[in-house]
Amino acid sequence: MAIETTEYKRCSLVKMDGRIDSNTGDSLMDAFNAVQENGIFKLVFDMTDVDFMSSKGWWVLIQTQKACKRYNRGEIVLANVPKKILDSLDLVGMNHYFKIFDDVVSAVGYF
């Protein structure tokens, strides 16, 4: 598992690979928190290389979305969500809480 953060002019990009589950979800939460501690609340989460995400991952994203949207200071958007993960988000209605982009360039360009 690896988590990379890249800062752009208008947002930060967080990329993770492998599994997001109860074993790794807290590391992703730490990465999102570290970005927010730098005063950045416009985030893109690149999910290109995520091959599995349990509900632990959704709750990390929901908590981050709540923090980013507070005071209308920003939001987290998702890019390149693998279809099987998108289907499971859809199953429980979690996809409604995020803007989802087909590629990272469009997601970064949104900000």
């Binding site: 589950d21 109860s22 074993n23 599995f52 349990s54 632990k56 499971s88 199953l91 429980v92």
Partner: protein
């Protein structure tokens, strides 16, 4: 039938997932069905560690895969605290973000993903969860 015992630790989740994937492929489940079983089993095992045992390293999870003619049956056994599945509330969807909780959905998701879900509770044997996914 193949059975394996895993320590009740979050680091076991990936190994359990690999075990499930291998037997789902033997059964001939397609990629979507295989992912559904992996996800349901991950949710169930996370709940066992977090809620039944109350933390990591406090018990084991026995995982059995039965190859059926029409799909895969997964049996999970633990010796942790039992619960009443009827007491589990469904997560609310479509509500405003700020009113959404910060956790849950495991049982709800398992029921959505699997074709059959059955719990058995015994003081001596602990909890048995039987999950079935058809091809």
């Amino acid at each position: 039938m193949a059975s394996k015992v895993f320590p009740g630790e979050f680091s076991s989740l990936e190994k359990i997932s690999d075990f499930i994937e291998k037997h789902a492929q033997i059964c001939g489940l397609d990629e979507n069905a295989t992912y559904a079983v992996r996800l349901a089993v991950d949710e169930a095992c996370s709940n066992i560690i977090e809620h039944a045992y109350g933390g990591e390293g406090l018990g084991n999870i026995e995982c059995t895969c039965n190859v059926l003619e029409d799909g895969l049956e997964v049996v999970l056994r633990d010796k942790g605290k039992s619960f009443n599945p009827d007491d589990i509330q469904e997560i609310e969807v479509g509500i405003p973000l700020e009113k959404l909780g910060n956790r849950g959905a495991g049982i709800f998701l398992i029921n959505k993903l699997m074709d059959e879900v059955h719990f058995e509770f015994s003081k001596q044997e602990g909890t048995t969860l039987v999950l079935k996914k058809k091809k």
